[in-house]
Structures are given as structure tokens and as C-alpha cells.
């Protein structure tokens, strides 16, 4: 009983925090089902009219397609490059190991905005036009440090011994990676792919700066916002939110519940 009383303020604070964290999300989702012109009280509905309108919006659907494309491809490149870098660095004694590690992590220190402006100025100087490809490259830049860090952190001494064991038993470089290291790394690879896909899916400023006609979903939503608050933005936002939640939930569950099994 005493315990419960002691715990009460904690529970209260926790609930308050959850309210703070989820209040805007709740309002967003609720008013996406609004039966009316404005996403404000009073709530009428539920109605799916704004979802219908959203799906009829060709520019929005196209941007959805672009977003998925950029997220999937950039994350694929990021995860593979990050894994290879982490493996190469963990496996071999490198003279410049510390320097390489610093270089690969450096983009984390620089705001997306500045990375975007840098790429924009570079494109401009070389007379290259903005494109979805540029957006994808930008997303690889910002996500590579995270993927590298996630995979690299898994390379403990134990995994190095496992790598040695595979080679010792006659495995080539390729079989060591494909039959032993990558399967063991599967949770980390999946997590870094999902995380990178989420961040790319959500990313606004680089997509905004580097794309011209082929814009991504966050850019479209931002443009819609300029026109004022409408439940259509809520519908699009709810969709973005739901997909990111799913991606993050997958990586969070994989990361947190994967108790590393030792051999």
C-alpha cells in the first residue's frame, strides 16, 4: 500500500508526459476524420472524405511514390555502405582507423540544413539541375553515420572471433560475410535500414532544397500548409505519421528486444 502511494506521483508524471507527447498526434489524427472544412472544434464525423480527397490529389500521390522510392533506395545504399565500412574497419587494422571513424561520423555534427545548402551550392556551381537523385544522395549523407554507428557498435571482440573462426574453417571473404557475419547482423541491418528509411521518409529540408518538380511528401505537406489549415493536411499527415511509426516500431523492437545471443 505504501509502495503504491509512493509510486503515485511517478505514475502521474508519466501519464502527464505521455499526454504532452501524444496530444498533438491525437488531435492530428482525430481531425483527419473531420466532416467539415477546418481541422478545429467542434469535431463532426467521423468521415473519410479528406482521405478520398487526398488520394485524388495527383501531385500528392506522385510525391508519395517519390518518397517511397527515395527512402527505399537511399536506405539500401546507406545500409550496404555502412555495413561494409563498419566491417572493414572492425576487421582490419587500419592506419587511419580513428580518422576514418571521425570522417564517417562527421555529418552528424552538421545540421541537415547546412548539408542541404552545401549540396545546393555545389549543384549550382557545377550547373547540375536539382533532382530526386540529388535528394537521395543527400539522404545517404545524413543517414550513413547512423547506419555505420549501429553496425559498428555490434562488432565486439566476440564477433571478431566468430569472423576468425569462419576464416579458420576455410571460408572466403564472401562466404564469411554472406553466411556468417550478415546473418548474425541481421537485426542491426534491419534496424539501420528501417531507421534510415524513416529519416529519409520524413526528411524535409534537403528534399525541399534539392528537388525541383519531383518533390517528396513532406515537401508537399509543407506547401499545403502555406494554404492554411485543412483536414486534408491532417489526412496526409496521419498517413505519414502512421508509416513512420510502423518503420520505427520495427527498428525499435528489433534493437531493444534483440538480446544478443552469444555462441
Amino acid at each position: 500500500m505504501l509502495n503504491r502511494i509512493r509510486r503515485f506521483p511517478s505514475i502521474f508524471y508519466l501519464l502527464l508526459a505521455l499526454l504532452f507527447i501524444y496530444l498533438p498526434v491525437f488531435v492530428l489524427v482525430m481531425f483527419s476524420f473531420q466532416d467539415g472544412l477546418l481541422p478545429v472544434f467542434p469535431f463532426n464525423g467521423p468521415s473519410l472524405q479528406w482521405y478520398e480527397k487526398m488520394l485524388a490529389n495527383e501531385r500528392l500521390v506522385e510525391s508519395l511514390y517519390n518518397s517511397v522510392l527515395v527512402a527505399v533506395l537511399s536506405s539500401l545504399v546507406t545500409t550496404i555502405a555502412g555495413f561494409l565500412a563498419a566491417y572493414g574497419l572492425a576487421r582490419h587494422r587500419h592506419r587511419f582507423a580513428t580518422g576514418i571513424q571521425f570522417l564517417l561520423m562527421a555529418p552528424l555534427m552538421v545540421s541537415y540544413l547546412i548539408i542541404g545548402i552545401g549540396l545546393l551550392i555545389t549543384l549550382n556551381i557545377f550547373g547540375i539541375s536539382k533532382s530526386l537523385l540529388a535528394v537521395g544522395l543527400g539522404h545517404v549523407v545524413i543517414n550513413l553515420p547512423l547506419c555505420f554507428a549501429i553496425v559498428y557498435s555490434q562488432f565486439g571482440d566476440h564477433l571478431k572471433n566468430i569472423d576468425c573462426a569462419a576464416r579458420d574453417l576455410g571460408a572466403s571473404d564472401l562466404s564469411t560475410i554472406t553466411l556468417v557475419i550478415a546473418p548474425i547482423m541481421k537485426p542491426a541491418l534491419l534496424a539501420s535500414f528501417c531507421l534510415s528509411a524513416t529519416l529519409s521518409w520524413d526528411e524535409f529540408i534537403i528534399a525541399f532544397l534539392l528537388s525541383r518538380f519531383d518533390v517528396t511528401l513532406p515537401v508537399i505537406i509543407f506547401e499545403m500548409l502555406r494554404a492554411g489549415l485543412t483536414p486534408e493536411v491532417n489526412a496526409a499527415g496521419t498517413m505519414v505519421f502512421a508509416i513512420s511509426m510502423a518503420l520505427v516500431a520495427v527498428s525499435a523492437v528489433v534493437m531493444l528486444f534483440n538480446t544478443r545471443k552469444t555462441g
Binding site: 571482440d157 572471433n161 569462419a166 576464416r167 579458420d168 574453417l169 576455410g170 545471443k261 552469444t262 555462441g263
Partner: protein
């Protein structure tokens, strides 16, 4: 004489300025069980890792079956390693772990699983093929790692402190199993450990490693009873070592003026040493070689009267710390039979056999 299966020819390994292994040479006969014994950081694991191909020697040559293997990667060597943490593949079942080396050697599935089962039978895990690695106990993992290594029929099997993580009981059991397995397979084992009791109970030969050098090499009994160096004398079990000075040498023996008095050792004792008159040396005497009673006979050395300072009953014997008063106080460790009842404060006469004392020049 048989051709050596493994030859280390003057190998050195440096890490930056630090010399981990310093000009080590070693030959192994087929079917030998060699233990690399030494304190942590002595370089024994680096030697093993160079034999396995995971570390390149900075200089020197490694030959297996007479072939130069110095630059051959692990995959190309007829060696297999049992790692300290076993390094089992966590995503594979036991049988797949054991069959992995055969798969890499392009054996068909049926054949490699057959051979893998045989290996598992050998280590007593015939029924465990379909288990996942995380369902095994430490001892079982150790056996799987062993089975995986012997499945590829290596010319030399390398074991890197494989028993270090096990409980004492299982460790002792595994030591005997290792020896039995090795004799049965007729295989050549190189085993690294820091545990001198383990080394003595399993080795055909012990190579005692310290600071990157081999201090002593030979059968356990020889290394224990007739250590070659001061380090060897002190590292292998408990020992008494006394400082001394060589005063005279002739055909009948070597006279040493030591902390425990004047003594003359038979010449043969120091055949492997190169003592010279006037040289500072050490004498070593095992605690069990120090006995109660006066040493007036010709082949004994009298160590005089000693006061008992501490007695520890250890079941099979009594360990006593005594102090002798000669020129200065000398502490001596004795191992007495439980029947020999001594008490703290007693003054007892002690002696030792002349032949038991070892003269240590280094």
C-alpha cells in the same frame, strides 16, 4: 627422429614499439600435446594466433609439414582453432556449426553432416545436433567448438584457453577428455593456458612463455622439478628461492654461499646451466622437498632450526611458513604430511636432499 609437424623458426611479432613475441623457435612432433603456459600478456596467445594465421610474424618463418605457411591466411592452413569464447555461430544449429568447415571445403550435405555427427559423437554430444547454440551450457558449447575444429581434421589443433570460462569441476573433467581425445585421434594439439596445474595435467611438453620469450621447454615433470630459470621456478607452483653466490666449482660439485648457508650441489644438477665462480645465482627448493629433522647425512643439507610462524591445514597436507635465523632471516614454505603436527611458535629442525635443490643461473 620424426620430421617435425610444426616449426616456429625465430619468429618475432611487434605491435608498434611493443615486442609481444621475441625470437621464438619451437619444433613439434606429430601427436604431441604442447601447452603454451604463461601469465597474461606474456605473448602466448600471440604465438598461437601466428600459428593459426590470424597474426603475421614481423620476422621469422612458420612451417607446417615442412611447408612455409608464414603468409598463408587461416583458411589456407591445415590448422583449426578452438577460441576462448568458442566463437560458435549463433544463428546456426549445432550440426551446422560443426559442418561449416566441411561446407567450405565443398563437401556434399549428406557427407558433411555425417562427418559432423561423428565429431559430435567423439565429444559426447551425439544427441545435440539440432539444438540451437543458445540452448547449450558452457561446457557443451566448449565441446561443440572442439567438434567443429576436429571435423576438418586439422594437422594441428589450436586451443586458446578453451577451458578458462568453465567451472573448476567441468574444467578438470574437460582436461582429461581433451587428453583422451587427442590420444585417440593421434592429433597434434597446441593449447594455451595460464593455469600451471592444467598445463601439468595435460601436456606432453610445456613451453613456458614470459615477456615474449620461451623460458623453459620440456615435459611437465622436468619443468616442475628442474626449472631452467628463476621465472620457471617461481611460476610453476609454490616454491622457495634463495639468493646465493657461487664460491667454488670442481668435478665433485658446485659450492654456493646462500641465504640458507653453505651448500655443495652435485655437479649434474647444473649441467644445463653455465654457472661460473663468483656469479650470483638462485637456489630453488619445493615446499614438499623441505623436510623435518636434522640433515647430517652426506646427501642431505641441513637448514638449521626454524620457528613456525603460520600453519594452514589443507586436507592432504599442512602448509607451514617458517623463519630460519642464519645470517639474516629467511622465510621458507614447507609442505608437511597431516600427521606431522606442528604448531605456531614451535622451533623445528629442517633439512632437504642435496639432489632436490636446483641451481638457477638466470
Amino acid at each position: 627422429m620424426k620430421d617435425p609437424i610444426l616449426e616456429l623458426d625465430n619468429i618475432t611479432r611487434k605491435f608498434g614499439r611493443f615486442t609481444a613475441v621475441d625470437k621464438v623457435s619451437l619444433n613439434m612432433d606429430p601427436g604431441e600435446f604442447l601447452v603454451l603456459l604463461g601469465p597474461s600478456g606474456s605473448g602466448k596467445t600471440t604465438i598461437l594466433s601466428m600459428i593459426g594465421g590470424f597474426t603475421m610474424p614481423t620476422t621469422g618463418v612458420i612451417r607446417i609439414h615442412g611447408e612455409d605457411m608464414t603468409a598463408v591466411p587461416p583458411a589456407g592452413r591445415p590448422t583449426a582453432t578452438v577460441f576462448q569464447d568458442y566463437a560458435l555461430f549463433p544463428h546456426m544449429r549445432v550440426i551446422e556449426n560443426v559442418a561449416f568447415g566441411l561446407k567450405m571445403r565443398k563437401f556434399g550435405k549428406r557427407e558433411r553432416h555425417g562427418k559432423a555427427r561423428e565429431s559430435l559423437e567423439l565429444v559426447g554430444l551425439g544427441d545435440f545436433s539440432d539444438r540451437r547454440v543458445d540452448q547449450l551450457s558452457g561446457g557443451q558449447r566448449q565441446r561443440v567448438a572442439l567438434a567443429r575444429a576436429i571435423a576438418v581434421e586439422p594437422a594441428v589443433l589450436l586451443l586458446d584457453e578453451p577451458l578458462g570460462a568453465l567451472d573448476l569441476k567441468i574444467r578438470q573433467q574437460m582436461q582429461q577428455e581433451l587428453v583422451r581425445l587427442q590420444k585417440r585421434l593421434g592429433a597434434t594439439f597446441v593449447h594455451v593456458t595460464h593455469d600451471q596445474e592444467e598445463a601439468m595435467s595435460i601436456a606432453d611438453n610445456i613451453a613456458l612463455v614470459n615477456s615474449g620469450k620461451i623460458e623453459d621447454y620440456g615435459p611437465p615433470e622436468r619443468v616442475y622439478l628442474r626449472p631452467a630459470t628463476l621465472f620457471a621456478a617461481r611460476f610453476m607452483g609454490e616454491n622457495n628461492t634463495f639468493e646465493g653466490l657461487v664460491t667454488a666449482m670442481d668435478d665433485s660439485g658446485i659450492s654456493v654461499h646462500s641465504e640458507i648457508g653453505e651448500c655443495t650441489l652435485p655437479r649434474c644438477v647444473s649441467t644445463h646451466s653455465t654457472a661460473r665462480t663468483g656469479e650470483k645465482v638462485h637456489l630453488s627448493l619445493r615446499p614438499e622437498q623441505v623436510r623435518l629433522g636434522d640433515g647430517n647425512q652426506r646427501n642431505l643439507m641441513d637448514l638449521g632450526q626454524a620457528r613456525v610462524e603460520e600453519v594452514i591445514f589443507q586436507g592432504t597436507h599442512r602448509l607451514c611458513r617458517v623463519v630460519c635465523r642464519g645470517e639474516k632471516e629467511v622465510r621458507i614454505l614447507l609442505r608437511l604430511h597431516p600427521d606431522e603436527k606442528v604448531q605456531v611458535g614451535d622451533t623445528i629442525p629442517i633439512h632437504a636432499k642435496r639432489d632436490d635443490a636446483v641451481l638457477l643461473v638466470r
